[in-house]
Symmetry: none
Subunit: 126 residues, 4 copies
């Protein structure tokens, strides 16, 4: 369900957090769904349970999941997450577009990139 990218320079816990928010945004995980247990996910990824714990703690702080002692971790609030995520992406998009403008990249070039991505047939990757 979750796969780590060893090439990714970000901390492991951050990758885990992102993967789960992705799963929520994509609609794979829905309100009330349980996350894998701390120990189980740690075993699956062969990392330390503390690292998973930390990721889950962050997710709880951000209001993405609800941790219940002795029971498990459950998704909450998918709507808010999706909205927040959309805002983040748009702000990133604006930033990189500004850089593109400064770097002398033309509007047509950007639009053709968008076209390519939104109309690609096979999902080839992942």
């Amino acid at each position: 369900m979750i796969v780590l990218d060893p090439g990714d320079r970000r901390p492991i816990y951050a990758q885990i957090e992102d993967k789960f928010t992705d799963l929520i945004v994509l609609g794979v995980l829905n309100e009330g769904d349980p996350l894998p247990s701390v120990r189980q996910l740690a075993a699956e990824l062969s990392i330390n349970p503390n690292t998973v714990q930390r990721a889950y703690l962050d997710l709880e702080t951000r209001g993405v999941i609800n941790s219940i002692r002795g029971k498990g971790n459950y998704v909450v609030d998918t709507a808010k997450i999706k909205e927040a995520r959309k805002g983040e992406i748009l702000s990133e998009f604006r930033e990189v577009t500004k850089k593109a403008k400064d770097g002398g990249i033309s509007v047509t070039e950007l639009k053709s990139e968008i076209y390519a991505i939104y109309h690609e047939k096979g999902e080839g990757e992942k």
Copy 2:
């Protein structure tokens, strides 16, 4: 000439490197132009000279500048830099566009963002 953003979580040396490549891409710095001396820049930004040193060292490794012992640091090779930078930006742009697609953002929305950025009146600074 260079301003640090304390809110930026990236290491200071990385910020410095980026600022200088930005200045090159924007055409403010051109082939042969001198960079401020390590000590002077360190004093200006009130940071440790080691940090500036490291940034300059990285820039030299990447072939952006040329360090001459006892003389100073000089810009080289603006063309290659500009090309490389353009590639980086485009790859970033593709990545964020993919995320936007997954996040359910429409093509029209992206295009309107691009329009807004490319047609905004120059607002002097930042």
Copy 3:
């Protein structure tokens, strides 16, 4: 009769204990009154019978109820409970008042809060 608050971070057994002492302090439950059976309450709240058992055990240890094998659990000693509870509340009250003082909250502000609470029309529930 008893309702659990999932938002409450305290352990379920503690919530159950508190609810029953509340019912006693409020005069809903009186000396000799029976508590619901372990199994019945567990079913009602859809929680594990062990959790209810633990709550009842604690209440017995504190001398609030009397467990009779094969018969049930009965309230004892309402007077002592009420006194003890009053002491607890006052000590909590003192503590938070001290914090209020340190936090720069004025006496008038506190008194107006008290006034509001003691004179509010009963708002049925919650």
Copy 4:
């Protein structure tokens, strides 16, 4: 500067967080002031550096302090903290006052407690 209460049932990291926010509310720590380094505080309290780290991380997440790699942790935003703290205290105060009302404690009794606390001479404790 910071003292732990072994009798306190709350986790150590939570105690540390509270102590520092207290110091801010009381005006002992002000905007820009540095906190003790992770290792130093850990040594002082003879606890594990990880525990201090966790406390500082939480404080940073809550926007109370600013962690700068290789430099230290610095207080930010004292005004917002003080306001938030005041709100928390008032809400606690309301809650315990309601309990007092339900427990049959009179308004006069509460007011006399307030008087005693706000007018005590020697600060005896801490």
